[in-house]
């Protein structure tokens, strides 16, 4: 029973994949600045995944840098800053 279920799951799993995965991979490609403009049939799925990983890492690094920059900016103890933040909040 359980073996039958797992087999049917697997076959239906491989049936959906190739087309659907191609579709998802090309959607992912649209989001990557490095390879966004290339034709999707020119870029392998492995390349898209590689670029995705690189992009996520670079975004994390940017968050790190920006957090540090914001922290330095908040160090100055003027009250105008809080006012700026509040005004941004009300936009």
């Amino acid at each position: 029973m359980s073996s039958r279920r797992s087999r049917s799951k697997q076959s239906s799993g491989s049936r959906i994949t190739d087309d659907q995965i191609n579709d998802l991979v090309s959607k992912l490609q649209q989001l990557l600045p490095e390879i966004r403009d290339r034709r999707s049939d020119k870029v392998s799925a492995a390349k898209v995944l590689q670029e995705t990983c690189n992009y996520i890492r670079s975004l994390h690094r940017e968050v790190d840098d920006l957090s540090e920059r914001l922290s330095e900016l908040l160090a100055t103890s003027d009250t105008a800053q809080a006012a700026i933040i509040r005004s941004l909040l009300n936009q």
Binding site: Q20, I21, V25, I56, L59, V63, L74, A75, I85
Partner: protein, 184 residues
Amino acid sequence: MTNSPKGFTLNNADSCRVKFARRFLRSLIEIKTRQTNYNNNLSSSPSSSSEIRRRSERIKLKAYSSMAHAVGPRKAWTRALLLKLHNRAKRHRFRTRKRSSLAMVLKKKRVFRVKNHANFYKPAAERGNYSVLNSDEKTEKLRELVPGGKAMDICSLLEETAHFIKCLAMQVQVMHEIADQLSN
């Protein structure tokens, strides 16, 4: 499996952006207020390098959690991310309180859970093996980078990755804008 990957509609992305900005700005005010209170009580300077480092860590965590809250619990990556941040905060609190006995209990529990997960996730890793992708190694790397990615089948992984990237890029953009406003 009929759920096709849903991109942001413009409205959706905008409201998410606004929600994130509001939450994050409120956290910044909170951090700023706490710092001035500290400053009145203690003599530690808010511009000392250790204080800047500590504060930037706090800002970073708030940025990620604001993002996850702004998106809401519909996405698996936000749930995983919030859980991760929550556990991290809990560990941190225990560490700073130096309650070693409780920390030990927590540690034991964690090890047990990780062991369970290792068994649970095995099939998911095997499911990532498709002819189109033909690179297990790369999907595994992606799983590590997307919160909750280890427990997803390959289709969800790709969908959630696309959404995660959009949100992360938006988070970076908003943080940029805030920093620019503050430095003017």
